[in-house]
Symmetry: C2
Subunit: 199 residues, 2 copies
């Protein structure tokens, strides 16, 4: 314990990130319920007691992973919203955002997509609200593009969920060993998802 206490805050943050990243991989592989703190400590190469200097519980880890990912999606979507791009360019950028986040941190995205239902009740509500607000901003871009004539008029929810479900699926399928580069994946998705919507 003494050893841990003399660590500088900087190193503590890195250890915490390491714990989160190893936890995400374990949750993806063995499920949230199937992963114990003992498994995690072993994977990280720390004593369980030392690990508790960085994180309080498995629940806290899940919470940190889910909201880290949710906040990345939300903040990057806001950046895209605030540019002067056309709505077509904005949707293309959102497709890119989904592909990039999955390529960069597939395990954490997988945990956020699949294990959020194990969050405590109040955190789960908060998470669902965050997701709803993301969907709303996404739908707004589609709707505005329809209104200004960039996109064909059609049911906004059908367009939104067609895109979201296709982007959601990447995480379940993509792995570096697939015979496709991230660039090709992104290009194919843009062709498939944007051509039908564009006027």
């Amino acid at each position: 314990m003494m050893e841990e206490n003399v660590l500088t805050p900087k190193i503590k943050i890195n250890k915490k990130e390491l714990i989160l990243s190893e936890a995400a991989m374990l949750f993806k592989e063995k499920g949230f319920g199937g992963t114990s703190m003992r498994d995690l400590a072993e994977k990280v190469g720390m004593e369980a007691a030392s690990m508790y200097n960085h994180i309080k519980s498995k629940d806290e880890i899940l919470e940190l992973i889910c909201f880290k990912i949710a906040n990345q999606y939300i903040s990057q979507l806001q950046e895209i919203e605030n540019t002067n791009q056309t709505f077509q360019e904005k949707l293309n950028a959102i497709i890119g955002l989904h592909v990039h986040l999955i390529i960069e941190d597939a395990a954490s995205v997988s945990v956020a997509n699949n294990d959020w239902k194990y969050l405590s009740n109040d955190k789960k509500e908060q998470y669902k609200e965050t997701r709803k607000s993301y969907e709303k901003s996404f739908a707004n871009i589609i709707e505005q593009g329809m209104q200004n004539g960039e996109f064909k008029k059609m049911n906004v929810s059908v367009a939104l969920f067609t895109m979201l479900s296709s982007l959601r699926w990447i995480e379940l399928w993509y792995k570096p060993s697939r015979e496709i580069s991230p660039r090709e994946l992104e290009d194919d998705l843009k062709t498939l998802l944007m051509t039908g919507l564009n006027k």
Copy 2:
């Protein structure tokens, strides 16, 4: 029991169908694990003892529902494959097939999509094989359409799973109270999913 035994086979089949259809709605609403045979008997309006003249167990019901839906998808896909339509027309017909099966029997499709994992091990393997064979036939149509120049060349799996995930999502979203007709839903999906693929 006597009363049940004098039923004609025809009526027995209808009762069995009624049981399956009510079971699908209960599984969708309360989950497979959360539904008891007692709940089901009450919903169907039969004594539990009489119900066992028609079906053996909750596991058998799940099996019947999952394979009924899987067989509908498979047989209708085979019909589409055996026509002389273009590959574009075939894919359009597959989109229609997914929309129709969901509109006709949303609860059973939901059970087949979500609760197949509770099948017994051998049935689960068989179910997964059936699904794999469906995906393979679907992918073949996409691939042939690329080879004969109807579709743009791109990664076949990306095209396949973009379509499948979008079609999968309908079941989670669609209900008759949505402000969209089945016809509009089908048309929007065809526009969204086919335009990008077509050359």
